[in-house]
Subunit: 588 residues, 2 copies
Amino acid sequence: MSNTIHKRLNALRKFMEEKGLHAFIIPSTDSHLSEYPASHWASREWISGFTGSAGTVVVTREKAGLWTDSRYFLQAASTGIDLFKDGLPQTPAIDEWLASELGEGEYVGIDGNVYAAKEAFSLTHKLNIKGLHLISDYDPFDTVWHDRPEIPKNPFFVLPEKYTGEPAHKKIARICDNIEKNGAESLLVASLDTIAWIFNIRGNDVKCNPVTVSYAYISRKETVLFIDPKKLSEETTSYLKAERVTIAEYSKVYDYVSKIKTSVCLDSSKITFSLYNTIPTENRIVDIPSPADLMKSIKNEAEIQGFNNAMERDGVALVRFFMWLEKAVPEGGVTEIMIPEKLVEYRSQQDNFVGESFDTISGYGPNGAIVHYHVSPESSVEIKPEGFLLVDSGAQYFDGTTDITRTVAVGPLTEQMKKDYTMVLKGHISLATAIYPQGTRGSQLDILARKSMWDNGINYLHGTGHGIGHFLNVHEGPQSIRMNENPTTLQIGMVTSNEPGLYRAGKYGIRTENLILTQHETTTEFGDFYSFKTLTLCPIDTTPIVKEMLTKEEIIWFNEYHKFVYDRLSPLLTEEEKGWLKEKTDEI
Amino acid sequence: MSNTIHKRLNALRKFMEEKGLHAFIIPSTDSHLSEYPASHWASREWISGFTGSAGTVVVTREKAGLWTDSRYFLQAASTGIDLFKDGLPQTPAIDEWLASELGEGEYVGIDGNVYAAKEAFSLTHKLNIKGLHLISDYDPFDTVWHDRPEIPKNPFFVLPEKYTGEPAHKKIARICDNIEKNGAESLLVASLDTIAWIFNIRGNDVKCNPVTVSYAYISRKETVLFIDPKKLSEETTSYLKAERVTIAEYSKVYDYVSKIKTSVCLDSSKITFSLYNTIPTENRIVDIPSPADLMKSIKNEAEIQGFNNAMERDGVALVRFFMWLEKAVPEGGVTEIMIPEKLVEYRSQQDNFVGESFDTISGYGPNGAIVHYHVSPESSVEIKPEGFLLVDSGAQYFDGTTDITRTVAVGPLTEQMKKDYTMVLKGHISLATAIYPQGTRGSQLDILARKSMWDNGINYLHGTGHGIGHFLNVHEGPQSIRMNENPTTLQIGMVTSNEPGLYRAGKYGIRTENLILTQHETTTEFGDFYSFKTLTLCPIDTTPIVKEMLTKEEIIWFNEYHKFVYDRLSPLLTEEEKGWLKEKTDEI
C-alpha cells in the first residue's frame, strides 16, 4: 500500500473515531448513483487508489477491504487493500464480513448522500439482524479530503430536435401518462442520463458521459430542474422556459422534496437514501423501475437514424485506425497507450464528434485478459507482431454513441488462439441472428453467446450485452443480456451491445462487440417475433477464424455482415482505404 | 352452463349474501397447496365443472369467471363460465377484474384454509389499494356442498431404505442443520410430497400422487407428524417412533402451531393463510423456499438407481404398448380412450408398479394440440391410420416415477408435420446435450429447446422442464426449465423433464419428452460444468424425421440414444419384441 493511501485511511479512521463509527462503507457512486461519478464524488478512488468503475471499499479501525467484480480482480489485487472477489461463492458479503469483524452493537457508517436508498434499506436490515447499527449522516470526505474538487458547474447545451426526435415537453407529457398508470402523480429523478434525455440537454460534467449534474421533479402541475445557476446561459434558460420547465437551485432539491404533496414515483435503486428520506412520510411512494428509463431505452426514428449515421463516421475512423495499426506494428514502437490517442485522432476528424464514450481498453497479450484493462504509462507494453490485441473503444457524437470491440491478430497465432477466437465469433453470431418472441428477456438469450464456449468448458464472467444511450452514457438500462435475471424484456427500438469474450489469464483476451437494435421480425399464429439488426460498421478480423468450426449459416451471416460494412463505408473512403476494406471484408 | 353448475353457483351466492360477501375466489388447491388435491378439496371443480389441474374461479353476485392458463383454454371455454386467459397481456388480473365489478368498500371472500399465505398477503394488498376488503374466514363448501367427500383417511406405508437411500431421522437431522443456517429453529411443512419424502412414507390419498394427508413440524427438540389416527397401523406407529417422530392428530396442528416458541422456517407459498396466521405474532418467521424441497429434489444414489430400474421396466411396457399400437391402428377400432387402459395393462405387468403418475394424455389429430387433453368417453375419437398420435403418460413404481411423451406417426404425414416434428426433436436434443456451468438456472437453458422453433416464428406456451419426484409427485420443484425466471440453479442429482412441443390448434400436437438427470461433466480453469444424462428408455419415432434438418451432432446423439435404449431394454424382451425394437432403434 502506498504511503498516501495509508495516510488517507488513517485520516478517515480518525474521523470515524470522532463520530463513534467502527466501520465506514465507501461505494463507487455519487449523489446521482452514476456509474461514472464526477471527480467531486470519487472518494472511493481517493481513499483506495483503485480506479475501476465498480467497487466498494470498507474501512474498519484496523482493516480495509475492497469488493469488486471479476473485471477488476487483477487491478484490485495491486492496491494493497484486501481484495474480496464479488461473485465468487466463497467471498463474504460486506455485511457478513462486518459481522465477523465488529462487535455486537457497533456502528457502521455510510454517507446517505451517495448510497442508493434500496441498498441502504437492505443494508440496514442485514446489519440489524447481525446486531450492528447503520449511521448514514456523515460525509467524512468533506472533512478529510482537503483538496476535494467541487461539484461540477459546467454549462450545458440543448440537443436539437433533429437529433432527439421529440421535444422535452412531449416526453414530459408521456412520462406523466406513464406514472399515472402506475398510480403516481410525480416522478423524482436523480439519474443524470435520464434527466439529459428528458430535457434534451447535454453537458460535460462527467468524463465520457455527456450529462449535467442536476435533479428533476416532474408532474402535470410543475416540472422542476434543480441545477446550479452557474450552468445556465440566456439561451438554455429561455429554452427551459419554453419547454415549461421551472428552474431551481441544485441544492434546493431537498427543501422542495420535503414539501411535496403528490404521490411520488421513484426507483429506490436510483435515488439516494438521504433524498428518499426527505420525502414526507405521509406521501405515497410508488417504488418501481423508472418509467422514464424504459422510455429512454426505446430509441425513436431520429435516434436510430443518428446511430446509423454515427456508425458510418465511426466506421471510417476505425478503418483508418486499423489500417494504421496494421502498418505500424511490424515497424515496431507501437505501444498500448498509443491506441487510445490514435483512435481519438481519427475519430476527431469526423463530423459531430464530441469525445470518447469511455476510456479505451487496449490490451495486448496478457493485458487483453484483464477485462476492463485501463492502460497507463506504467503498464503500457509494446505491441509486437504476434498474438492478439484487444481494442474496446467508443465515441460520443451529437447523433449517437458508439461502443465497439475488435480483437485483431497483430502477427502469428497459436491453434488455441484461433479456436478461442472462433468460439467467441460463433457466440457473437448466434446472438446477432437470434429470433425471439415478444416478451423475451435478455437473460433468456444470453446462452446463445456462450454456448460455443460452455460446450468446451469455457465461460466469461461479464455480461453479454448492456443498453447504450443515444449520445448519452455508454452503459444504460433497463435491459441487459447477461446470465443474471433482469425482468426487462427486449423491446423494439432498444440498442444493446453484443460482446461475448474469452479470457485466458496471463495469456490473452478476445472479445468481439457490435451494437444491435431490437426490431420486429415476423408475426405468425404464435405471436410477434423480434430479431436484432447489427448497427456497428467495422470489419471483424478474418485471419484467426477456423472456418471448419463455423456452420454454413454462420459463414453466410459473416459474409453478409462484411458486405454490409463495405457497402456502407466504402463511399466514404479514399481509393486506398476502399481497397484495404475490400480485402478485409472479402468472403471467407 | 349446465343446470347443476347453475344451481351450485346460486347456492354459493346465497351463502355469500348471508355473510355479506360480494365475491368469492375459489382456487384449485387444498389445505396443503397441492397441485392435485384430494376430492374433499375439489371445490373449484365442483362449482364450475372445470377439471383442469390449474384454474381459479371467481364468483360475484351476478357473474362467474374462470382464470386458467393456455394448457386449458380449449377445455375451459366449454364450461359456460366466462374464460379469462392467464398469461395473455389483455387478460385482467383477478384483483383488477374485481375492482371493475365491485363497488368501493365491498368484500371479497376466500377460504384461508385453502389459500397460500403469500398469495393472500399479496391479494390483501392489491384489493386494499383498490378499496376492497378481503375476508378469509369462511369455507362455504362445508355448507353448500352437501355430499362433499371427507378428508381422506387411507392408511400409509413405509418406503424401505433400499429405495429411499436415507432414513428419516438422518433427513430430519440434515433439515435441522439447514434451517439453522437460515437462522430458524423449526420447519413447518404442509406439502404432502415433502412430508412423504422426509418421513419415507407413501400413501394413496390423492390420485396418482402417492402421498398421505398430514402436516409436519420439525425441530431438534421435537418432530411431529400431524395425521389422522385412522391412517396408522401398528407397524407405521412403531416405525415413526423408531425414527423419533411424535404422532399427533391431523386437526391438532393449529393448536400446536399456536403455542410454538421457536423461530419458524416456512415457505409462505406452501403454507395456507390460516396456518400462517396461527403462528404466534412474537415468533420470528424465516420465509424462504423450503430447504427440504431443495434436498428432496437432489436425488441420492439409491433414488437414481431406482429411477434407472423403473425406466427399464417402463421401457419394456412402452415397447409392448407401441408394438400393439402399430398393429392395432391399421386394423381399425382403436380409440383415444383405449390408450390409457392399454398402457396401464402393460405397465401393471411390471414389478414394483403402483399406478399411473398422472392421467394419460392421448391426443389424436386436433386433440393432440390440446396441451393437457384429458380424454373422456365423449371426446374420445378413433385413431385412424394417418397423422400424429401424442401420448404423454407415466407410472409410479416403488423405486421411481416416470413421465414420458412420444408422438408417433400412425400413418402418412404432411411435409409440414414432418418439419414440425423435426423442429421439436432438434429442441429436445439441444437441451439433452447442453453443457452449463455450475450455478446455471433452468430459465437460461430453456431457449435451447425452443430455438429451432423461434427461428421459424413458432413457440409453445408451456414450460420445457419440471422436476419429478422419486416415487412421488410427477411435478415437483424447486427447479424448472422454462421461459419464466426461477432462481433455483440446476444441481447434480436433480431429475427434470425435457419436453418441448409444438401445437397447431385444430390440427395436431407434437411433444417429445424424456427425463434428464443433472450430472457433473467437467472441471476446467473456468470452473465446474454440468450436463444432462437422459434416463428415459423408449425409442423416438424416426419416420417423421426430416434428416436434412438435423446437424451431424444431432444425428450422432439420436443414434447413440437409440443404441442406449436398445442395449438396456433388449435383454428384458422376447425375441419378437427385440426384433421390433432393433428396427425402431436402427441408425438414421
